[in-house]
Every structure is written in C-alpha cells, then in structure tokens.
C-alpha cells in the first residue's frame, strides 16, 4: 500500500506520488486535517507553485483521503528537493479573516457626549417699597427670570437613584433645571457598525423617577452616517417595565447598525425636581447573522438574550470562509451573553474560545467535496469508543507540570452587584490545598459547576499520554481495520495495558487496566502514527511556548 499524493493547482491537478519523500501527515481535534509536509523532487528552476495550490493525500488501497491542505510553505532544500508544507483547509480558512466581530453585546459601553439639557433660571430685580412721602406713584422696577447657566447632562453607567444596586445606564437631569420642550440626553451603541455588520434586534427594560407622559424613553435605530428612524418611544413609568424586543424588518429597517437611547421632554417647558431620571437595564443588542442557507436570519429568531456556538459557527463559516461549506451543525449547550470583539478576531479564535467554554462540541474539516469546497462540521464530542489500540508499540505519559488541588473558592459579582462566594472542598485527610477563582461575570451554569469543573481537572493527575500505532487497528464504527494514517482525531479510543485515573471517561467502577482516551492529534510519518491522547502533552516545547505566549 502506498500513500498517493495529488497536487491541485488552478491549472489542473498532478499526481506526484513517485516524487515525494519524508512525508508527515497530521490531523487534530479541533480542526480536522491539520498539515501535510513532504519533500518534493522538482527542478530548482521551475516556477513556484501558485499560492492557492492544494494537496490531497490518499490511502491508495481504499481511496480514502488521509490528509490534505492548502499550500503555505515552499522552500528549497540543499539536496535539490522542494520542502512543501500545507495547512489543513479548515484551520487555514478559519484564520483568513481577522476583523472586528460581534454577535451579542450586553455590556453597557455607550458612546455619550454631554449636551445642554436645560438652564438654571434666576429671578433678578429688586423688590421696591413705595416711599412714604411720595405722592407720585412709583413705577416698581421689574423683576424677571433670566437663565444663568446651561446645565449639561450626560448618560452614564451607574445605579439608579432609587436606592437599588442594579447596574445600568442612567439618564438624569439635575434638580432645579428648567427643561424646554424637545430637550434630550442620549447614548449611542454602535457595536454592529464597528464590525461592519447590521443590527438584528435589541431589547431593554427601564425604570424612571416618576410616571409621566411629559417625558419619553426613546430608542432610535440608526445607520451611522446616513438616516435614522424612531423605533420606540414610551412614557415614563415609576416601576420597572418588562423586557421587550424590537427586531429588524418588522420593527426597524434591516440596514440599521446602531441604536441611540435617549430621554426626551415631550411636554411643555418645566422646572424639574429630583425625579427627572431614567435608568435602562438589561440592554441586549444582537447583530444580524447568516443562517445555514446563506440568508440573513429573521429578527424574531435572533431576539434572544444569549447565543450558542451553533449559530455563531454557521454565521462565521458563511460570512468569512468561502472555501468551506457547512456540514453537521450541533447547537451547543452554553448560553453566551457577551460575544463581541471590537479589536478584531479570527473565526478560529472565536470558535476555540466558545468550544472550550461550552465543553460539549468541537469542529473538524476533513475532505473537500466534488465542488472543491471543504465541509466543516460542528459536532458533539463523541461518547462511543471508535478505535481499539494497544501499548505494544510504545506508550508514554510524562508527568504534567501542574500541582493538584482539592479545594477551591469561587467568587463573582452578580448582576445585582453583590459578591457571591462559594467554597467547595473534596479533601478527606485534613490537609487541604486550595486555590481561588475570581470570575468577571456570573457563570450561567452556576458557581458549583465551575468549582466542580476546576476540581475535576486539578484534583488528580489527568489521563494523558502519547501512543505509537504501527499497524492496522480496529475501527469499531465501520468494522474495518484502518491504516494508522486514517485514524481521525477527536474520537475516543480504548487502550489496553494502561491503568486509568478515574475521570468522566473512566469511572471509578471500571478500573480494569484499560483506559479510554480522546485522541487530540495524530501525526503520521514513516509508517508510524503517533497519537497524543486527551490533551496535547506538556512537553518542553509547549511549556516554553506557554511561558512566552
């Protein structure tokens, strides 16, 4: 059996099997096909391969593809061969675009400016007493009100003046200001505009100092630099309203990319007391996302206070990766409340961050389809074992560099501003080791879940290792004996000959000299596949990279 190599260039494809040596194939989870490297016999005076060239590697006995990628390096070796390196299409395409991106923004970081909202009035002129002996009637000097200062108002983050600790956006007119009809204080949220995206939906709750129809709480949907439209205008109420949504196309035009919230004096000019304030809380802004058919999803579908990995994955692939197409799309379980990167981010970083937080899904891209585009899948982590391996060709598990902890203290400031604190201990011998975790935002799964996740990872030496596979192994899912190069990362394997530390995959009750691992990477070269199991092993290179990075 030989591996067959095919080079695709825009001019056509070429089989180069006979001219390839020192090949290394790698696939990883997440990612799918990760890299192909080889030395290619080629005349030094030939032109370089075009930038969009691709490589496909096959098991020639069965025709399955075992490696592939997009050309990233072509150098010349001193023995007259070219060194060719290709990066898996999924991993490469997810890093093509590095630009600002947002899905949902619940952090209140508005763009505000102080504006003149009214004036302070003062009465001037003297009171005059009529003189006693004066027979002529005196003309009293007039008394009138004049404006003495402009009063500036600006929206700012803070809590409402009604004594509650709830955080939000406060619009307040200082007491004693005379406010004319039409005066307003506003705050602008331009998240979608900053990312070159459009607004899909927004929603908020509000409460004001007094019930009044002389004031309004307004939302104007804008296209920055172009037009705007009034989207909501409600009278002031003294009790907190419900959250209600406004969605694109139905409630505001689909071309809007910013929202401006403001309070406005609708009634006649008035001298305000201490209750001229409005407090907005629970603001959620959603950007328009593409659905699996390539069309923008309806506003109603996007009007939710959180987003999951599946919908972000779909949008990123459609929006940023023309060389990829969607395969399976799992929904994901974690509800993310804040997904906005205004400084720029690649699709790969978004997915890596979300999949790691979610912990139940991962993504892979394998073969290209007949139309030249590679299918990428977001799949739940498999729960059934796929490969049967043994340690006979070598297994190693160097000690990880981290310490073990059996107690953790989790603290976070919750939505109402109070600090929540939770201590979880699994210690049984009276000599605990503990660590603190301070979170920025209240985790949706709760503090207990975060504490337990930490302890699961840190309580004992994890099951991890490197195994060498030098012959065909049984693939339980297809009932076949597969070549080591065809072992796909992301799947579970059962290794005979290693006693496990109890964990999710290897419960306490099944300590039988067989360990179940997840395959993190498969590196194949010279007929032998080296699999990294569970997580990439902390070897010296990675430790240094972690220190530097």
């Amino acid at each position: 059996m030989r591996l067959g190599f095919v080079l695709d260039t825009p001019d056509g494809s070429e089989v180069v099997t006979g001219r390839v040596s020192n090949e290394t194939l790698k696939n990883s989870s997440p990612g799918g096909f990760a890299s192909v490297e080889f030395d290619l016999v080629r005349a030094l005076d030939e032109t370089r391969l075009p930038a969009k060239a691709r490589v496909r590697v096959y098991d020639t006995a069965t025709g399955e593809q075992v490696g592939g990628g997009r050309l990233v390096e072509q150098g010349l070796n001193d023995d007259g061969t070219w060194k060719i390196a290709a990066l898996g299409e999924g991993i490469a395409a997810l890093q093509d675009i590095d630009e600002p991106y947002m899905v949902i923004d619940t952090e209140l970081k508005p763009y505000t400016q102080p504006v003149s909202v009214g004036v302070k009035m003062k009465t001037i002129g003297r009171k005059q007493k009529p003189t006693k002996s004066n027979t002529r009637a005196s003309i009293p000097a007039p008394r009138y009100k004049v404006a003495t200062t402009f009063v500036m108002g600006e929206a700012k983050n803070g809590s409402a003046p009604n004594g509650s600790d709830v955080e939000g956006l406060l619009f307040q007119v200082p007491e004693g200001t005379t406010v004319s009809s039409g005066a307003s204080i506003s705050a602008s949220f331009r998240g979608p505009y900053q990312c070159g995206m459009r607004m899909a939906a927004y929603g908020y709750r509000y409460i004001t100092g007094a019930t009044s129809s002389g004031w309004s709480m307004r939302a104007d949907a804008e296209t920055v630099g172009y037009t705007s439209e009034l989207s909501r205008s409600d009278s002031w109420v003294a009790t907190e309203t419900d959250m209600f949504w406004r969605v694109h196309t139905t409630n505001f035009s689909a071309i809007r990319d910013a929202i401006r919230l403001s309070i406005r004096r609708e009634g006649a000019t008035v001298l305000v007391g201490g209750n001229a304030w409005a407090h907005v809380r629970g603001l959620v802004i959603r950007s328009q996302l593409y659905g699996p058919t390539g069309a923008i999803r309806s506003g109603e579908a996007l009007a939710t206070t959180s987003a999951r990995v599946g919908e972000v994955f779909t949008d990123l692939i459609v929006r940023r990766c023309p060389t990829l197409k969607l395969g399976t799309i799992a929904t994901g379980t974690q509800a993310f409340k804040q997904l906005a990167w205004y400084d720029g981010i690649t699709a790969k970083d978004v997915l890596d961050e979300m999949c790691e937080s979610d912990g139940t899904v991962t993504y892979h891209a394998w073969e290209a389809d007949t139309d030249g585009r590679t299918t990428i899948h977001l799949e739940p982590l498999p729960t059934k074992v796929r490969y049967e391996l043994s340690t006979k060709h070598g297994f190693s598990a160097p000690s990880p560099a981290s310490d073990a902890y059996d107690t953790v203290v989790v603290s976070v400031r919750d939505d109402d501003g109070y600090v929540q604190y939770k201590r979880v201990s699994r210690n049984t011998d009276g000599n605990p080791r503990s660590q603190p975790i301070n979170l920025d935002a209240f985790p949706p799964e709760g503090l207990d879940a975060v504490a337990n996740k930490f302890l699961d990872a840190m309580e004992k030496t994890p099951n991890a290792g490197t195994i060498t596979v030098a012959e065909r192994v049984l693939d339980l899912w297809t009932g076949r004996w597969v070549h080591p190069a065809a072992i796909r990362s992301g799947h579970l394997c059962r290794v005979r000959g290693v006693q496990p530390t109890p964990d999710t995959l290897n419960p306490e009750a099944k300590q039988d000299g067989v360990t179940i691992f997840r395959i993190a990477t498969n590196t194949y070269s010279d007929g032998v596949a080296t699999l990294e199991l569970d997580q990439p092993v902390l070897n010296a290179d990675r430790a240094i990279a972690a220190l530097l990075g």
């Binding site: 190599f5 020639t60 006995a61 006979k392 030098a470 076949r480 004996w481």
Partner: protein, 404 residues
C-alpha cells in the same frame, strides 16, 4: 519482567533502494588511441541515464534503467600491452529490471451479471507488481464523467440484487418491476407516500471471502435523497438526485463487519455476510425509490493482498451534450501516474482530476481483477448495455535478471 515492548522488530514502511550492476569488460584496442576511443564511447554512453539490455543465454532479455555514472576502475597493462584495458563499471540502476511489454485487450460490458464491469489479467510476468497502463474507450454517447478503476488480487467479484424492506412502517408499498434497463431485467420499487422517507435496503451475500469491499448500488429516485448504512458511520452517505439510473458509491465496508484479518494461521474461508442500508429523503408526499443492483469491488488493505483504486473525473463541463462533446476516451498512464480524457474525435484532451491516486497494478502469480465503474454525475442514465473497450499493457518488473 514485563515491558511495554513487543518481541521482534516491526516493519512499518519499506521501499526498494537502487540496485547496483557491476560489469567488468576487457578491451583489446590494438593501439592506445583505439583503446582510448573505446573507453570514451563507454563513458559517453553512461554519463546520462540509459537502458541497458541484458540477456545471459535466457530466452528473453531484461532492461535496466541506469543512472548517470562514470568509469569506476580502468586498469592498463603498461607499454608492453598497448591498447589493453580492463574496465569495471559500477552502474546504479533502478531497483526493478523491466521486461518486454505485454499487451492485451478486453471488451468489458457494463452489466455486472454478464461477467461485466471487470476483466482479468492472468499469468502476469515479473517478480513484483507492475503498473498497468490502459486506454479505455467508453463509446460515443457516453456522458458519464466520473470513472473508477480498481485493481486487486482478490479472485472473486460479488454482486447481488438488493431486497427492499419496510420493517413494518406505513406509507410505503413495495413492488418488483420488469424493465429492460435494469440489471437482470427487474428492479425493486418502493412507492412512498406521506412522511415515510424511504425503504430499508438489505443485501445478502451467500458466499463471500471476508475482506474490505467498496459497495456500489445502482439506484434512482423521483426526489433527492441519500442512501447510507442503517447504523450510520461517518462519511458513508452519498446522495442521488435525478430520475435516471446511477451507480452510487457508498464507500468501503468490511464484510462481514469486524471479521478478523486473514493470516497464515487463519486463512480466509468463504462465509455469508449481510448489510442493511436506509434510504432517506427530505421531501414528503408521493415519491418512488428504485433500487436495482449492488456490487462489491475489492478494496483490500487489511488482509495482506494488494489493491489500489483510482477515481478520475473529467469535470461536468467537459461532457457537453449540446456540443456533442463526450469524454469517451480515457488514457491511464500508470508508469507516469497521469490520466487524461479525450473525445472520440480526438479533440479537447482534458487532464483528469484524480482522487484515490491508486493507479492500477498487476501482481505476478496471483489472479488480477481490474474493475471498471462508470459513475456518472450527469443527467444521462447509466446504460447497462454499453461496453468499454480496453487496451492494456505493462512492462514486467523483475528482481532477478531473467525475463520470462
């Protein structure tokens, strides 16, 4: 004492190195100039690659492909023996010596029951597998633009008529239809209504050598759908669209599943094997699914026998019904690992887009079966009455230096 090691070494990857041919020649040139002239002829012959014919009394010669080299060792015998030289040539040469070409033809019908879809190359000469070059002519009017060429040492070719099954579900009626376009004259039809999305397809092979096979199923349907194994595994689903007969490539399976690989201590014996698939359509309402025939193409790997598979595609744009371009000729040059298409009139050659990359090879002293699959994409139906004319040839590859 226990260890994680296994006894003995394991060969993981092997390749043949170049051989070295050593030839000792005596030159009697008469004069020094004559001897020098003859040495120059020798040096010039071997400074570039060349073919060295060798025939030591055997009936047939062999040919070595030598690499550029120079004269290694030239001994002269002094002024008393002018023109006398003994020269030793150390010629690096390609590992295998080649023999005289062996050619043959085959006319392969497209009907698997008629001994079709395959041909054999028997009594292969040589010592190691040799690349098999082929020139295929699919005949005018063939618009299928994707072809499969699989070579293997497996002696059997299995095919069977599938049996449709409802497994008791409603909104599905089974019937057998007689039609001359079907393999064997009949095909199974499932008439769907309501939300039922398709029949189950059962294959039963009564006498099969355990091993890995690629499953091809001839089917058509009135609505788009996919046929896949009943217990789904990754990447084994293929969609069929359109109302014309097409061979669907369902990927490689092991029959029977999980059967152990054959070994010297446990040679393979024939057994029965079954496979169950499920048709899935996304549409609802009235529709039909027709399943005609199933074929197993050997795709050996685990069982120690040789095999390779090549898929070549001319791309749909090169099969143009309007202009009458049919990519009817395919040349597979396995020596150079290239494949290209041409029309019957010899124009518009297109380099084939290749996947699988297993160019066909023939192995000496075992049976060799080459299977041809015409897997079309287009709107034209698979025609079971078509034939493919094949001209094949190979140069035997020798480890020894005898031609046979």
């Amino acid at each position: 004492m226990s260890s994680y090691q296994v006894d003995g070494s394991v060969d993981t990857a092997l390749a043949w190195e170049d051989r070295e041919v050593t030839v000792a020649l005596a030159i009697d040139g008469g004069t020094e100039d004559m001897a020098a002239g003859l040495l120059q002829v020798l040096a010039r012959s071997f400074r570039d690659e060349c073919w060295l014919e060798f025939q030591a009394g055997t009936t047939h010669p062999v040919f070595f492909r030598t690499r550029p080299t120079t004269l290694e060792d030239v001994a002269d015998f002094g002024p008393n023996n002018p023109g006398l030289r003994v020269v030793t040539l150390q010629l690096p040469a390609a590992p295998f010596a080649r023999g005289l070409p062996v050619t043959g033809t085959a006319l392969v019908p497209n009907d698997p029951t008629d001994g079709g879809m395959r041909f054999t190359v028997s009594d292969v000469k040589g010592d190691v597998p040799a690349p098999l070059n082929m020139a295929l002519d699919f005949g005018t009017g063939s618009y299928d633009s994707r072809h499969m060429i699989a070579s293997s040492n497996s002696p059997t070719f299995h095919h069977v008529a599938p049996v449709l099954n409802t497994l008791g579900t409603v909104d599905i009626a089974l019937s057998t239809v007689t039609d001359s376009s079907a393999v064997g004259g009949t095909y199974g039809r499932a008439t769907l209504s309501g939300a039922n999305n398709g029949p189950w397809v059962d294959l039963t092979f009564s006498s099969i050598l355990p091993g890995e096979y690629r499953l091809l199923v001839r089917a058509r349907s009135s609505q788009a759908g996919t046929l896949g194994p009943y217990v789904p595994s990754l990447g084994d689903r293929v969609s069929s669209s359109g109302t014309v007969w097409r061979w669907l490539d369902l990927g490689v399976y092991r029959f029977p599943t999980y059967s152990p690989a054959a070994s010297a201590w446990k040679p393979a014996t024939t057994t029965t094997a079954t496979w169950r698939g499920k048709w899935n359509r996304t549409a609802t309402g009235a529709g039909t699914v027709d399943v005609d025939h199933a074929v197993l193409v050997p795709a050996p790997g685990a069982d120690g026998s040789n095999g390779s598979v090549l898929f070549s595609s001319s791309g749909t744009s090169m099969s143009d019904l309007t202009l009458g371009y049919d990519m009817a000729k395919l040349t597979v040059d396995s020596e150079a690992e290239q494949a290209y298409y041409a029309t019957t009139t010899g124009q518009a050659a297109a380099v084939a887009s290749v996947s699988g990359a297993g160019f066909p090879r023939v192995t000496p002293s075992v049976p060799n079966v080459i299977t041809l699959g015409r897997l079309s994409y287009g709107a034209v139906a698979d025609n079971k009455a078509a034939t493919t004319a094949v001209d094949w040839s190979y140069h035997p590859c020798y480890l020894t230096i005898r031609g046979d």
